[in-house]
Symmetry: C2
Subunit: 394 residues, 2 copies
């Protein structure tokens, strides 16, 4: 990779359940917002990438979502890459665009992430990861897996139920200040502990919702920025993805080796350490997941994740604020949109645009997403590092 | 792009309708064959790309096919990109791997293309491009579109029904010599003209089948080849993809502007002219498509495609042999597999491994595939140029 890649603009829709929205209306809104933020037009784009995990099984359009959105945005005749990797689809789309720009092949990329889940067919069936039909039918769905991981983390490290619930409270507190978030009413620890049981020890408020939404990011090379007459402030210092099989037999359920190895590569690519991270987006499909991933990402020592959140260190004003946009739990988790929404949140933070949820002085940010059912399926981990290289801190 | 990309190995399964085959068994067979041909192991691979257009709508696994196949082949912890672009999915997979290697990010890629269509659900419905439900229900399926294009080409240029049928006969003749092809019994012009009418003027033998199959290619950088101790002979001189909307209102149905622009970029990237091409794979989902695409690719002047095939210039022994493996019409067209199968055929030709269907002295080869419903949908065109840069010609 020979060239630096910059974030030139971002856009995002409200996340939620919108009966009249479509993949087209959502993607168009986010894409147009990102183009406007960058101060450019569709015709300036020379490559499109699109993360959308379930357009085929939910809407009968397995290929072509990126092509369709590109056309809606006035983009014609350029390469369009559709990326599908479960919850990590958006991170894959960002990664392909990073490769396309960093390689010198292209100069201005539009990265789209979009999903429309509220109108999915087969509503009665559990939403397992693709292909996990048998496991889903016998009850081994993602909440069941994370509940087992929670119990194991509690047994091995003494993590408490209250520490796990504290993730949900913290992330809801952040979402209160995010007008795009799906759930914004404040909640207490008791609300989480008293909410409807899903799989013990996890309750309803420990689980992310399904929903609809889209996010978009414009990436440029220096040559692209010069051509467009723009001065982007945020560098994509690392974009690393990895895939693998989470083997039941060689792990203890309290850590994900693929996330650890992917994060290590990202820190190396960005030439930063976990202690350099000022603000992070961390995969919190379930409250306990955020605790496990603090540890996988090196934000604390193994086993210390529960104490980290309980001490307020990952809340706004803490040492390393995590999920300042509300996380998957509260901003919502329209699969393909999430990985791109994380970049929108962090680029806003580094540009000092986050209003009441701004992390003061943020210069280096990390996004982490984990896609695919974590045990028994084939998963993808994505870690991105953004850095404000020039100018003053936010 | 700073580095040259080479084909280090190829593999392909038989194409056909195989009741007991799965995406897993097909992809594993092709992938293992490509690794063996390159003389390497799964652990040597540092990036995987996988083209598979219909795993979600046909088999309930929209994400994760590449991850699954990688795991089956002993590949772990590396980036895996799943590409979906209708019939061009395999060309997209090749393009992403070309980007990953050419950029310097990775050194050894496994490109997989796989599809299992014979067991698709909803067998009674026409197989339109994704999302074209309404058009399909009123009969505007791909055969209908190509039939209209055939009538238009006949009206504008005087192309004859016999010239169109000659494509099917020529490509079947090639498939007779390809043990991997789906249809291998020789046919005559009368067989085509007397076969079951589908949409006038096209008959059954003018249309490609659905089927199952997989193909795989190993790509390497020079650094990768050195590390593995191998000496690849075939350079990927160009890999260009483009997407766009085929507008009804601004075209005459006898040409595809997206294919023309994509081919022009590929010729420029490879620094070759149409007259330099010794052997080509050209998208022939329907017999008439090959004639239209001769013209789009510059293999003859506009309107001359019918005469080109009738004169035998695109048959083995002619000036520019096309579809020496049988084409989509006869090798078969398992969507995601086709774009990779084209590369397997051409790399074999350039290495002098094509036996009775060998094009003598072939040094430069072109593959073309066109994905997405051509009119009213959002399509992708892929053009690849391979070149034997070193050593003696085949």
């Amino acid at each position: 990779m020979t060239r630096t890649v910059y974030v030139a603009g971002t856009g995002i829709t409200a996340f939620g359940k919108f009966a009249t929205a479509s993949l087209g209306s959502l993607g168009r809104e986010a894409g147009a917002a990102a183009l406007a933020d960058a101060g450019i037009q569709g015709r300036d784009i020379d490559v499109v990438t699109c993360g959308c995990a379930r357009s085929g099984t939910l809407h009968g359009r397995e290929s072509g979502v990126g092509q369709y959105l590109g056309w809606e945005l006035g983009i014609e005749g350029v390469p369009v890459y559709n990326e599908k990797a479960f919850c990590a689809s958006g991170a894959m789309a960002l990664n392909v665009a990073h490769l396309a720009i960093g390689s010198g092949r292209h100069d201005v990329a539009l990265v789209l992430g979009v999903e429309k889940m509220s109108s999915r067919g087969g509503r009665g069936r559990p939403l397992t990861s693709d292909g996990m039909v048998l496991e889903g039918e016998v009850g081994f769905t993602p909440p069941a897996y994370y509940a087992m991981a929670a119990r194991r983390h509690m047994a091995v490290y003494g993590t408490t139920r209250e520490q796990i619930a504290a993730v949900a409270v913290k992330n809801r507190r952040a979402a209160v200040d995010n007008p795009k978030a799906q759930y914004r009413a404040p909640i207490t620890l008791d609300d989480v502990l008293d909410s409807k049981p899903i799989v013990a020890p996890l309750n309803l408020l420990d689980c992310c919702p399904t929903g609809d939404g889209a996010a978009a990011v414009v990436l440029v090379s220096e040559a692209g920025a010069e051509r467009l007459g723009i001065e982007p402030e945020i560098e994509v210092a690392a974009s690393v993805v990895g895939s693998g099989y989470y083997r039941k037999q060689d792990r203890d359920m309290t850590t994900f080796s693929l996330d650890r190895s992917t994060a290590a590569k990202a820190y190396e690519q960005a030439q930063v350490a976990p202690s350099d991270i000022d603000v992070a987006e961390v995969h919190d499909s379930f409250s306990v997941a955020e605790i496990l991933h603090y540890e996988d990402l090196g934000l604390c020592e193994p086993g210390m994740g529960g104490k980290l959140v309980q001490a307020g260190e990952t809340a706004l004003g803490g040492r390393i604020p995590v999920n300042t946009g509300g996380g998957l739990l509260n901003r919502g988790h329209p699969l393909g949109a999430t990985g791109v929404a994380q970049i929108v949140e962090l680029a806003d933070q580094l540009r000092g645009r986050s209003g009441t949820r701004q992390v003061t002085g943020a210069r280096t940010a990390l996004a982490h997403i984990s896609g695919g059912f974590q045990d028994g399926d084939f998963a993808t981990s994505g870690v991105t590092v953004l850095a404000r290289r020039h100018g003053t801190a936010a």
